[in-house]
């Protein structure tokens, strides 16, 4: 056979295989979305967002407390995990040419791989036991531990992508190193760091295991940060393993709302903290 024709056939086959694989990876995502929407959409109504859960046997009710609870938990986690992660990332990228930084990097990667339930147990021992109560704080502590390594490594990677030439340019203008890091390096890397933070938020928004023995769940409105608090994933879990059809439908609705919430958070953040110039312009052409 002509070698050119043979090459063309192999080319077609390989392209087809690559396309098919891409399609396959997309399939679970689309089917999950479709399934959750079809199952959940019928139970999502106004009451779902405004009402507390009803007692067993009574129809209706909603998950408003769990929605608020999840938002509170995310907010509390961000409050300590974002500053810690970003500052840690700055240290690793800008001053991290030593053994200590290598150790931090390694432990962050290990921490990233620790099952979230283990982190939940840890938060239980250091927070819940001494306080003698499940609480929102302990939940946020557990979730934050999951966020920190992700944010720290993302920040470090993004800062490292800022070319050395920009740092030199700032220094050559007689700018101090601290100003240079804040106003030039961090500013240039901001869109990437934000993406890292969003990924971390999206991840913890759906975490259930670490909340099982920290935030614990609650069928009423949040009563304070040192009290058990409701969270969507917990509520979904509890409702899904219950024997009641009505609760199953509510669990589907909760799953749909959770997905939409994560989607909304990332959309909002992108909109509010919009980089001044589009990414295409930001790409550094040299080096």
């Amino acid at each position: 056979m002509n070698i050119y024709i043979k090459r063309k056939i192999i080319n077609k086959l390989m392209c087809g295989a690559a396309f098919f694989s891409a399609l396959l990876t997309l399939a679970p995502l689309i089917s999950i979305f479709g399934y959750v929407i079809s199952k959940g959409i019928t139970s999502v109504n106004f009451d779902f967002f405004t009402h507390l859960p009803m007692p067993v046997g009574e129809h209706g009710g909603g998950m408003s407390n769990a929605i608020v609870g999840t938002l509170i938990l995310i907010g509390l986690s961000c409050l300590w995990a974002i500053p810690l992660g970003v500052f840690g990332g700055v240290y690793l990228a800008e001053f991290g040419n030593n053994k200590f930084a290598a150790a931090v990097r390694f432990s962050a990667d290990v921490l990233n791989g620790i099952p979230s339930i283990v982190i939940g147990i840890f938060a239980y021992t250091v927070f819940v036991l001494p306080m003698k109560s499940f609480s929102a704080i302990s939940g946020a502590f557990a979730l934050g531990i999951i966020m920190v390594p992700t944010i720290m490594r993302a920040t470090e990677e993004m800062l490292r992508m800022v070319p050395f030439a920009l740092r030199e340019a700032a220094l050559a203008l007689g700018v101090s190193q601290s100003r240079m890091i804040v106003s030039i390096v961090l500013k240039t890397a901001l869109p990437g760091i934000l993406t890292g933070i969003l990924l971390a938020i999206a991840r913890i928004a759906g975490e259930t295991a670490p909340l099982l023995f920290t935030a614990f769940g609650n069928r009423f409105w949040p009563q304070g940060l040192n009290q058990p608090i409701a969270a969507l994933p917990l509520q979904i879990f509890n409702y899904a393993i219950s024997p009641y059809d009505d609760w199953h439908r509510q669990a589907w609705a909760g799953a749909l709302v959770l997905i939409l919430m994560v989607f909304l958070i990332s959309l909002l953040t992108r909109f509010v903290i919009k980089p001044k110039y589009r990414r295409k312009e930001m790409i550094w052409k040299q080096k």
Partner: protein, 252 residues
């Protein structure tokens, strides 16, 4: 003779590699001094020692004296940040700040050092852009990104950025090596204008460029200063054989 630069016995190292070996040179103010020599001869390292940028490279060390207007910039009480404000630098590749607008790029050196008064900044930005012959091309889009400009415009933006902090000396590290001939011509014209007010040191690979733009030329080879004289003399009657070999293209 305020911006006169006197370098004596300057040694510079990268780790254990010695990049400069005992440089002694005295650079006059308000003239253009070109630094030529083959790749890796220490030209760039030399000018980076003058604004204390050499030391930001990890493992870089140096010894010797660099006097600016009679004061040693490496003395214990010399603040590298203040020195770099007096000695601006333009790099080989245009490096405007991608996250900043054209206006903010020019104003960066001032803004980042706490000068925020809009009136002052407006004047300085306009003056700097006019001096770098870029004002006409960007005056209607000062809020566009600095990296939306062409390479030659970006380099002139970087020159404006250096001018805005009102330095006495400007170092150019092969400023035209990434530019096309027309942009190169513009930058060279600019050098003529700038030397009225600034002391200029330019590293270049291009000997024709050195001959065109400079009053004095220093020839470096293997980390040593081989010859330093008026440009005309260097190119017409070099005293050292190695200089002659280099400028006639026998090596390098």
């Amino acid at each position: 003779m305020e911006a006169e630069i006197k370098v004596s016995n300057l040694y510079a190292y990268f780790g254990s590699i010695c990049a400069l070996r005992g440089i002694n040179i005295s650079i006059k103010e308000k003239v253009v001094t070109a630094v030529i020599g083959p790749s890796g001869c220490g030209k760039s390292t030399f000018i980076r020692c003058i604004n204390r940028l050499h030391e930001v490279v990890p493992e870089a060390k140096l010894s010797g004296e660099v006097l600016l207007g009679g004061k040693d910039i490496y003395s214990a009480d010399a603040d590298p940040i203040l020195i770099r404000r007096k000695i601006g630098m333009v790099f080989q590749r245009p490096n405007p700040f991608p996250a900043l607008s054209i206006y903010d790029n020019v104003a960066a050196g001032l803004k980042l050092n706490g000068i925020k008064r809009k009136n002052d900044l407006d004047g300085i930005v306009e003056r700097s852009l006019k001096m770098s012959a870029l004002w006409g091309e960007v005056k209607d889009k000062l809020n566009a990104s600095g990296v939306s400009l062409s390479g030659g415009q970006q380099q002139r933006l970087c020159i404006a950025r250096a001018l805005a902090v009102a330095p006495e000396v400007i170092l150019f590290d092969e400023p035209c090596s990434a530019l096309d001939p027309i942009s190169t011509g513009k930058i060279e014209e600019l050098l003529f204008q700038l030397k009225k007010n600034y002391t200029i040191i330019i590293v270049t690979h291009n000997m024709q460029q050195a001959a065109r733009v400079s009053d004095y030329t220093a020839f470096f080879l293997l980390g040593e200063l081989v010859e330093f004289d008026k440009t005309q003399d260097i190119f017409t009657k070099p005293k050292d054989n190695r200089t002659e070999d280099y400028i006639t293209g026998r090596f390098g």
